[in-house]
């Protein structure tokens, strides 16, 4: 049966999209209006210090970083699933999550860099281990996507992409633990969420950011998966169409005349 779907939207995905938009508006309100800037007073000199308004970028940066991990881990699980089961569903999921994850990872690097300029006084810090390992992760998945765009037989490409993803994802524990393992080689602060060292509204906005970006991730994944699935269905459809055409040619062939000609040649 031929799939005649012309859109990747459905009532459910439209509702999800709408919820995501409302959530994003709420997040912007909390992050840029309702929360206070990070201003502290030096205990002895009384001078103001802190991250000031730059701290607001962290309400986007941190949730996007978490979703980057989630996307790449989804890609790794789906890649392992494909190698074990060899079902296209796993492969399309891996491809979709890698694309969404690469976009998130790129945004994490960009927002981090913009935040770093006023706070660390530099756009880029070569000595920061977490920054470097995140950049390497971005480059690893850029390579993954390059492999995905290379023309190749689908099963062969899927198998090789799965191995690239499983190797690339080994970088995630390094990024995650880098602030603990290389304390003196990073400007990133150690985990504050686990110890609840941050204030209520800040914590709420961070959590809201996680939920909202989780919705963005789900919405993007849903549509990207459906695009991938349609591509997969189209490839199968083209093969089926070509086979049907060959069959039709065979049926309309004048068999007797063909045999006669062959016989004559002998």
């Amino acid at each position: 049966m031929v799939d005649t779907t012309t859109t990747t939207a459905s009532p459910g995905s439209r509702l999800l999209g709408l919820t995501t938009l409302v959530g994003l508006a709420g997040l912007i309100l909390f992050a840029f209006v309702l929360t206070e800037p990070d201003v502290r007073l030096h205990p002895t000199t009384g001078e103001e210090f802190g991250q000031f308004d730059a701290v607001r970028l962290l309400y986007l940066h941190v949730p996007m970083a978490v979703l980057t991990y989630a996307a790449f881990l989804t890609c790794a699980v789906a890649s392992a699933g494909y190698l074990l089961k060899r079902r296209p569903w796993w492969d399309v999921t891996a491809h979709a999550s890698a694309e969404v994850g690469t976009v998130f990872c790129g945004l994490v690097l960009v927002t981090g860099s913009i935040w770093g300029r006023p706070v660390w006084n530099t756009w880029w810090e070569w000595g920061d281990v977490r920054l470097m390992t995140t950049l390497v992760l971005f480059l690893l998945f850029t390579g993954y996507l390059a492999l995905r765009r290379t023309p190749a037989e689908p099963q062969r490409q899927a198998r090789r992409a799965a191995i690239v993803a499983l190797v690339a994802v080994l970088d995630i524990p390094l990024i995650n633990r880098s602030v603990e393992w290389w304390e003196n080689r990073t400007l990133h602060q150690q985990s504050t969420l686990a110890e609840l060292k941050i204030e209520d509204l800040t914590l709420f906005t961070l959590m809201l950011g996680l939920v909202v970006f989780g919705l963005v991730f789900a919405w993007l994944m849903l549509h990207r998966f459906r695009v991938g699935w349609l591509e997969h269905a189209q490839a199968g459809h083209e093969v089926a169409l070509a086979i049907a055409e060959r069959h039709a040619e065979m049926e309309t062939l004048d068999v007797d005349a063909a045999i006669g000609r062959t016989g004559g040649a002998r």
Partner: protein, 232 residues
């Protein structure tokens, strides 16, 4: 039971030896490493000299990094060559029909690339001593680092070489896929060489640990994953 496992292991390494010998014999006859890859690597060293305005003090300071960047660039050529051997005359089909385990083929090919990289590294070490004026402060650390890094590069390169082979645009795909994976080797080997060449005050032996772990993980992962690469 134990005997069977010992026999299987012996067979694994014997087959790997056969594959490595074959690859090295092809190299000895074609001389691609000596006639093309080694001159390319030395050329890169010279170009770095031009780019840094031939200031020997600067070159001596950055020699470890320049050395390893050159090794990685030359390794790309060696790995591409190693993978292309299998596609010439459909050799990989013959290899699959031989019944050898995929892990044996992987270990054999990686061993051949490793030996070629070691030859390159010796030539490049002479190059940085002569051209950049580097001094071998700690030859033992230098040698062990060179071996550990070459294991990591050879095994990872062999896996990714097979991965990119048989696909369109494989020549441009291999560097994009391989170089980010080799970033830890570049960092670890450069820091270790910083110590061995007296270019910076770092603990080279600690970085050597990173290289050893990388080499071990890459060898095990490569041996496990190579089968999926040569299925087709």
């Amino acid at each position: 039971m134990l005997n069977r496992e010992v026999r299987q292991m012996r067979e694994l390494f014997t087959d790997a030896g056969l594959v490595a010998t074959r690859d090295l014999r092809i190299e000895a006859r074609s001389r691609v490493l000596l006639n093309q890859v080694a001159p390319f690597a030395l050329l890169v060293l010279v170009l770095f000299g031009f780019a840094l305005d031939a200031d020997q003090r600067t070159l001596r300071t950055f020699a470890p990094g320049l050395f390893w960047v050159t090794v990685l660039l030359a390794a790309l050529l060696a790995v591409q060559r190693s993978a292309s051997i299998e596609h010439a005359d459909d050799a990989h089909t013959g290899l699959r029909l031989s019944g050898m385990a995929a892990a044996s083929v992987f270990l054999g090919k990686a061993a051949a690339v490793f030996i070629q990289l070691m030859v390159l590294e010796v030539l490049l070490a002479i190059g940085i001593v002569v051209l950049y004026g580097s001094e071998l402060d700690n030859p033992v650390l230098l040698a062990v680092t060179a071996v550990a890094a070459a294991v990591g590069v050879a095994t990872t390169g062999t896996l990714y070489g097979a991965l990119a082979s048989g696909l369109g645009a494989r020549d441009t795909l291999l560097p994009i896929l391989l170089l980010p994976v080799l970033a830890p080797v570049l960092i670890g080997a450069t820091r270790s060489f910083d110590d061995a060449l007296g270019a910076a005050a770092v603990d080279g032996w600690a970085w050597l640990g990173l290289l050893a772990v990388f080499g071990l993980v890459a060898t095990v992962l490569g041996a496990l994953a190579y089968g999926a690469m040569i299925e087709d």
